[in-house]
């Protein structure tokens, strides 16, 4: 029982990441009709926004401490972050410690602008091109983006810790009446699930309750009619691309403490997120979210030792098996719309 609860929690937080990435991808599919292979790179850039924000806050001035030496025996250069200089050691350190959640301040403008620039500068020229061309150009873009990151940050993962207050494990089981240590789950991951839920709710709310969102939804359903009504749907779609980029960026930034950012983390997620989107059904936002959580939870259950004893390595292929079964029984995934990307 406790194992099931643990894996459910685990599935929820895995699913959160899948759902957030898939949500953005589906927005881009559904509104722009573009296969965006650079979406993983956007996730990665989000994570590096957290790294950059951490580095910005940790910008330091250097003093030489003659009493200590470095590895070659020279006097040690001591670095003190400016924020500590300005706000004193405690407040300054607290700001640095909370850099990951605070990096939202950086992620939203940076990713938003980047998304707009990408859409206006490149993607919009590919709306009418075959999907194959879209794949090639966005894949090329993804490589370029990740090589640029590698050039500046190297290939090694960069530790980006969660705030100390959220770094450890929470004994969830104690709240439910289980014995100690039965269900311990990292606070940050619980927070991640919560955060994902908020972001997903915000995106749906935006689409559901604003005029802008209504026009976009109408455009997703029937682009031509909306254009006939004299609405400049393209400009709105550009904004949707930016929103998709922000969602991917937020997902990446908050993921940084779970998975130390490295330049190829986007590619690791790319294939999986496509599977999630397609299992959810092309063009369906609720489908993407549902598929994200479904696959996350199934993956978590498949890694239960009891399951692996019977079916070795099932955890490595469960997602693909589920994808195949769902696509064969439901032709357009869980909630796909007819005619979207079926050619």
């Amino acid at each position: 029982m406790d194992a099931i609860i643990l894996q459910t929690l685990n599935g929820l937080d895995k699913g959160s990441a899948y759902a957030l990435i898939a949500l953005g991808l589906t927005i881009i599919f559904g509104t722009l009709g573009v296969v965006n292979f650079a979406h993983g790179a956007l996730f990665m850039l989000g994570a590096f926004c957290a790294v950059v924000f951490n580095r910005l806050l940790s910008l330091s001035y250097i003093t030489i401490d003659p009493t200590q030496t470095d590895f070659l025996g020279n006097p040690l250069k001591v670095e003190t972050p400016y924020v500590i200089g300005w706000f004193g050691p405690e407040a300054g350190q607290a700001i640095i410690d909370w850099s990951v959640p605070l990096s939202i301040l950086l992620v939203i403008p940076v990713m938003g602008l980047l998304g707009l620039a990408m859409e206006r500068g490149l993607i919009r020229y590919f709306y009418r091109r075959p999907h194959a061309d879209q794949i090639l150009v966005t894949f090329g873009l993804a490589i370029v983006l990740q090589e640029i990151v590698k050039y500046f940050f190297g290939a090694n993962p960069i530790p980006t810790p969660a705030p100390p207050a959220m770094a450890g494990g929470a004994d969830v089981g104690m709240l439910l009446g289980f014995p100690e240590n039965a269900i311990v789950y990292p606070v940050w991951r619980l927070f991640y699930t919560f955060f994902a839920a908020v972001v997903i709710a915000a995106v749906f709310g935006f689409l559901q309750f604003t005029t802008f969102g209504m026009v976009v939804r109408a455009g997703m359903a029937d682009r031509e009619t909306v254009q006939l009504l004299g609405i400049d749907i393209n400009r709105r779609f550009a904004v949707m691309f930016a929103i998709a980029a922000i969602v991917a960026g937020l997902a990446g930034a908050m993921y940084a403490p779970i998975n130390s950012p490295n330049y190829h983390m986007g590619m690791d997620f790319l294939v999986l997120s496509f599977v999630v989107v397609v299992v959810g059904g092309m063009g369906s936002l609720p489908g993407a979210v549902a598929a994200g959580f479904l696959l996350g939870i199934l993956e978590a259950y498949a890694s239960l030792d009891a399951v692996k004893q019977i079916l070795p390595s099932i955890d490595q292929i469960i997602i693909y098996i589920v994808a195949i079964v769902i696509l064969l029984t439901r032709p357009r995934g869980l909630m796909g719309r007819k005619g979207v990307m079926e050619e």
């Binding site: 370029v144 050039y151 693909y320």
Partner: protein, 412 residues
């Protein structure tokens, strides 16, 4: 000739001449000169050019003709390699049975995967093929590759390789000097090579290369025949309008399935040849990145064209193998003629794009090609040819008879 029209015969002859002369063409720079780094005329890379050419030609029969974008073709390449290595282990080092077995096994796998995946179209089809290929990859990496289990088909991460105690029932277990024998084609070892010295130039003729090149020419010829056949016409019909095909009395499914199996067999052939050139099969060959690579090759070269995929394959393999080897040492050699400060500046300037930065150059090229040459490299070639023709023959009056083809239409 050979049942081809004049244009196709010319194309086939050009390709044949180019492949035969590849050792010369790919080695334009004299040995020892700074630019010799850019030479690609060594056996391993030439073999890769033609083998990945076969892979891409086969992929194009599916994707270029029917429009079905498979994201799992690497599975057939990998299975082909494993099959060939198993033949070397069990039967002997003759390449013919190995290659035939690779083709047979991958054809069977393609039949199974194709039968299921082709029930869906568009991106649903792509994801189904991707899922199957990723399953194959993961199984090859772990369950089927555990050296301690009885079902060690793939030897996991290390890759399946030959050992001295393999049975090789129809061949020799070990060579007279105690080593592992080498794959051969009726006595011509794949590793045999012969060097031709012409002044400062050195040209290498490799047995393996010419074997693979011959297979590639056959594969290319068959592909031309398929493109020009009624079967090919039906496949293009599938891509263009399945509804119409349906109401014209044609069932698209067996056609697409046949195309899928043919292209899977091509992939298996390529995998088998890879194993012939170098008898080791690694699971990475089946990863999605490898499937993606052949997609990129085909689109980069020009999907649906005959020669495009081969060009695309050569292009990507050239970058992978040549650009990745240009280190700062080489760069300093290139720019040595410049004054010191300028030399360092040029090296710093070029450095991010070569050596460990070869991915960056490749990514930029993908974008440039797809932005400026929507038809891939083939379109680039056509444009250059067009410029050339226009310059050579200034307007002698329009001649609609000879230029009946309208420019690529933008109808939708």
């Amino acid at each position: 000739m050979l049942g081809l029209n004049r244009q196709d015969t010319a194309l086939l002859i050009i390709v044949a001449v180019l492949t035969l002369l590849a050792p010369f063409i790919l080695n334009p720079f004299p040995e020892g000169s700074g630019l010799a780094t850019l030479n690609a005329g060594y056996p391993d890379l030439m073999q890769r050019f033609v083998i990945y050419g076969i892979f891409a030609i086969g992929f194009n029969i599916l994707f270029g003709l029917t429009g079905y974008l498979s994201f799992g073709h690497a599975a057939f390449l990998g299975v082909g390699s494993y099959a060939a290595v198993w033949m070397f282990k069990l039967i002997g080092m003759q390449v013919i049975p190995a290659v035939l077995f690779s083709m047979a096994i991958s054809a069977i796998l393609a039949l199974g995967i194709g039968y299921v995946s082709l029930r869906r179209s568009g991106i649903y089809f792509s994801i189904l093929t991707l899922a199957f290929a990723q399953m194959c990859y993961n199984l090859a990496y772990s369950v089927l590759g555990n050296p301690n289990s009885r079902f060690n088909l793939t030897n996991g991460e290390t890759g399946l390789q030959l050992t001295l105690d393999d049975p090789r029932i129809l061949g020799v277990q070990r060579t007279p000097d105690g080593g592992i024998p080498v794959p051969n084609f009726f006595g011509i070892e794949m590793r045999d090579s012969y060097d031709l010295h012409l002044g400062d130039w050195v040209f290498t003729f490799s047995g393996g290369y010419y074997f693979a090149a011959a297979v590639m020419l056959i594969a290319f010829y068959i592909a031309i025949r398929i493109f020009r056949s009624p079967f090919g016409l039906m496949l293009r019909g599938v891509k263009s309008n399945q509804t119409r095909l349906y109401y014209t009395g044609i069932n698209a499914r067996p056609y697409t399935l046949a195309a899928f199996v043919i292209s899977g067999t091509y992939a298996g052939l390529a995998g088998g040849l890879l194993a012939c050139m170098d008898p080791l099969a690694g699971a990475e060959r089946m990863q999605w990145t490898a499937s993606g690579e052949v997609v990129l090759m085909t689109i980069l070269g020009g999907a649906g064209t005959l020669i495009g995929p081969v060009l695309g394959a050569g292009f990507i393999k050239y970058f992978e193998n040549i650009f990745s080897k240009i280190n700062d040492n080489v760069l300093h050699g290139w720019f040595a003629f410049l004054p010191d400060g300028l030399e360092d500046f040029m090296v710093t300037l070029v450095h991010p794009f070569v050596g460990k930065g070869w991915h960056l150059t490749l990514g930029i090229l993908f974008m440039l090609v797809v932005i400026f040459l929507p038809g891939g490299l083939v379109e680039g070639g056509q444009r250059i040819l067009g410029l050339f023709r226009r310059r050579k023959a200034p307007p002698p009056g329009p001649d609609p008879e000879h230029h009946p083809k309208p420019t690529p239409h933008v109808a939708e």
